[in-house]
Amino acid sequence: MEHPRQITVFQATAILVSTIIGVGVLALPLFAVRAADSGAPLVTLLGVLLGFVGLALITVLGMRFPTKSIVQYSEDIIGKWFAWIGSVFIVAFFAVLTSLTAREFGEVVVTSVLTRTPVEVTVIVMLLLAAISTRNNITTFAYIHYFYTPILLGPGLLIVVLSLKNAEVINLQPIWGNEPGGMLLGVVTIAALFQGSFIVTAVIPAMRRPQKAMKASIWGMVIAGGLYVSIVVAAVSVFGAEEIKFLLWPTLELAKATSLPANILERLDAAFLAVWVTAVFTTLFSSYFLTIHSASKLFRLRDYRLFSFFILPIVFIMAMFPQNIMHMYEIIQKVGRVGLIITIAYPGMLLLIAILRRKRGDRVEDKPMD
């Protein structure tokens, strides 16, 4: 049983949702507002669509080669050497993404909750958690995401609903924003938040019915994108575009601004952050898993568990590279934009060549639900 094909469409959707929703949500309204002040929701929506393009490309590729991950089928498509270069980039990119995610969350925790804890500690704890969890197999991986998805969606939606009390529709106008010039860059930045969806390449080879992968992708993007858009709408309508520009993590501020009815908890931000640990964990878990999974495929190793602790110090050092929060966000934006080449352009090129060269993978016959 090297590849038990057990993951259902439902689970694949959950994997996508919980992978996409992560630490990026906290700063998301800020990025969107910077790009197009009151046009932030629209920018977010366009970003979601761009992100979906990348996801759709990978899904189509995955359905073409239902038994292989991107590292393997790229060899079939463009030959060993080119594919090797591409795969090295993929592995490196996701290692960097992992480290940045961990660092970003570490900064959030250190700034808002554990003010006296060194950021190194929070980062290493998160990374260790992900590294320990990646020693499980792909089925357990799916179970973990499946279990946490409702836990992530709940608080996110709760914050949105509770903030409606203080919402002002006027803040959302004009819908186009005041300077549509910066929109394109904003769209690219926001699309970069969806790069976690690349995990689908590792999921499709383990799906029970790979031909239904597209369904999972669409649903995953609709749910995650819907949450993103609604959070941006909520943040902008509560604070107004100009106010948000002075807030580092508007979503967190949104949690502070809301309170539960009947005064059960005085402030929601600490509780929200605590629950958000799971969201960040699932994101980290996916990117870490993808990194070691692709690396093991790259070096043709059967057991990817070897890598889980081997990569840890490297990722940790990368996570500690940015000097401070500002520096970190600069790097995150740059890396995200560059990453789009890897997550959208590269699969697009592969798909094009695959169609031209008429390459296909082995079909997987429909297995009954036992």
């Binding site: 909750v113 958690l129 946490y148 908890l265 005085e266 640990v277 036992d370």
Partner: protein, 553 residues
């Protein structure tokens, strides 16, 4: 010694281990091993000598010489404390000594003797002929009686076993208000009888094997033919037959060998001493394992939600029991995270709780010199010690200690400025919460996991609790019991199973057996029953109707 059947492929390391294992073959029962092929030869004195030599000197071993039909010398062996004396006298000795009435006056040749004894005179259903020495000895050790006769190359092995036992009374660990009151006892035979009488069907199957090199305990594997997945039965069989230990003193010994993950704090096998519970689980498609000498049956595969379900959930009406089951689940979660939540909020995020309450808590903690984590850990540990003390004490003293101990010590600790009142309340709630979990072993797992969580909460606050919980949940999600994911039916989701997860759905909702057990026969409730339920019930005694009828008369 059983050798494992690993596949054809074997790595060097495995081979090396295996060869070592082979070198260290230990003999099951040395004396019996030597006499493997020895048979009875008809020489009575030789038989007596051999049996005495094999069994050694035992004061409870009886050798009784007598004459069959007044002329053939014979001898009877038994362990005097394991047999039913009256049955030996009346049903064995008497028929052996006297000719049967219908054969009066006939001369019995020694060649016919065996058949006459077996077919005409022995008044015992469990009588058989056996020539293998080892079988005879094993029979003796089980409590059977052996009768050897001069000139016969086979001896009689007669079932006279009678061991003192408890009567099946109310189970000590799983008491119910509404439900059957009988529990398993130590005797395997009685336990199987208790199951049979609840399952009077041809589908109920029992397979037995003997485990334990020195105890030779009988182990029964019970399942339902046509319901239970045959693969599961095979797997249980395989795992059990791989066990080669000296003694099986309780089913708990087997549990530790057959579970999937040996280091997990969570039990992957459920034990119970209630026959009705075993039957319900058999009907769901599980396999039960009973061991002679243990009043606890094992049920496999086990999933997490069985640990907060009780028999009563199904005997009482569903609306009420759903509420109570939810309360039980809350108690279970409470017992895991409550103290650590308290530590985290007090030490890191006091802003989370409403101001008035925060002030009250701070006032209570004013005289306490320790940080919250130390305080909670100390009280928690003393609570565990108290609980252990109550279990170990004789019953008459135990009740007094528990109540007095907790009240007095808690009160004294508060007045001494050693702990704050709120801490005592929290710990008390936690402890009570862990008592509400029906399964002792699951409660134990959660109780122990509390401590690392408290420590994490003391270091990292809420963030630490989440880290701890994520680790625990990930572990739960990676666990499997005989291949069934531990958190089924929640993960992987099954709508059918959700009806019996947190709430207890009405019996007519649960039309099919749990999916994850891969049963052969899926339906439980006939659809016609459900249809009838949905039709209006008879209203024969409705006052309006009966009035009308009276007037007609």
């Amino acid at each position: 010694m059983k050798l494992r059947l690993d596949g054809a492929k074997m790595s060097i390391l495995k081979w090396y281990k295996k060869s070592k294992r082979r070198a260290a073959v230990s003999v099951r029962d040395q004396v019996l091993e030597q006499h493997q092929t020895v048979r009875i030869n008809g020489d009575l004195e030789h038989t007596i000598d051999s049996i005495q030599r094999i069994l050694g000197m035992n004061d409870d071993f009886t050798i009784r010489r007598f004459h069959v039909f007044g002329k053939y010398p014979a001898v009877m062996f038994y362990f005097s404390n394991m047999i039913d004396q009256a049955s030996i006298n009346i049903n064995i000795l008497k028929p052996f000594m006297y000719l049967p009435p219908h054969l009066e006056g006939k001369e019995i040749e020694s060649s016919q003797l065996k058949d006459v004894l077996l077919y005409d005179s022995l008044y015992h259903s469990e009588g058989m002929l056996e020539s293998q020495f080892t079988q005879l000895i094993k029979g003796l050790l089980r409590g059977e009686t052996v009768v050897a006769i001069e000139g016969l190359e086979e001896a009689f092995l007669i079932g006279t076993r009678s061991i003192e036992n408890r009567s099946p009374d109310q189970p000590a660990t799983e008491q119910v208000i509404r439900g059957p009151r009988d529990g398993f006892i130590e005797q395997l035979g009685t336990n199987i009888a208790l199951l049979r009488y609840r399952l009077q069907t041809t589908d109920f199957r029992v397979r037995t094997m003997q485990l334990g090199r020195r105890t030779n305990s009988k182990v029964a594997i019970c399942y339902m033919e046509g319901i239970t997945s045959p693969d599961l039965v095979e797997e249980v069989n395989r795992r059990l037959s791989n066990i080669d230990i000296e003694a099986v003193l309780d089913s708990g010994y087997l549990e530790q060998f057959i579970e999937d993950n040996h280091v997990s704090p969570f039990p992957q096998v459920q034990y119970t001493e209630r026959p009705d519970k075993v039957v319900a689980n058999l009907l769901e498609g599980r396999v039960a394992i009973l061991v002679d000498g243990s009043p606890l049956a094992l049920l496999v595969p086990t999933i997490f939600n069985q640990f907060y379900q009780t028999v009563e959930d199904y005997t009482e009406r569903f609306v009420l029991m759903s509420a109570i089951r939810l309360a039980r689940f809350v108690a279970l979660i409470f017992s895991l995270i409550f103290p650590s939540l308290y530590v985290a909020i007090i030490s890191f995020n006091p802003e989370l709780i409403p101001t008035e309450f925060a002030v009250a808590v701070a006032g209570g903690r004013a005289g306490v010199p320790f940080p919250a984590i130390i305080e909670v850990l100390v009280i928690e540990i003393s609570m565990e010690v108290l609980r252990e003390a109550t279990i170990r004490l004789p019953q008459q003293v135990g009740g007094a200690l528990s109540i007095v101990g907790v009240l007095v010590i808690g009160q004294a600790a508060v007045s001494a400025g050693f702990a704050s009142p709120i801490t005592i309340v929290i710990i008390a709630l936690t402890t009570i919460g862990s008592f509400a979990t029906p399964a002792y072993n699951a409660a134990l797992a959660l109780r122990l996991l509390r401590f690392p969580l408290i420590v994490l909460a003391g270091i990292f606050g809420l963030y630490g609790i989440m880290i701890g919980l994520i680790l625990i949940v990930n572990h739960l999600l990676s666990l499997k019991s005989f291949g069934v994911p531990y958190l089924s039916p929640l993960v992987p989701g099954s709508f059918q199973g959700m009806k019996d997860l947190l709430i207890r759905g009405p019996l007519w909702w649960m039309k099919s057996r749990p999916v994850f057990l891969h049963v052969q026969d899926k339906t439980r409730v006939d659809s016609s029953t459900v249809e009838q339920l949905n039709e209006s019930q008879g209203v024969e005694l409705d006052p309006l109707k009966s009035k009308g009828r009276k007037e007609e008369r």
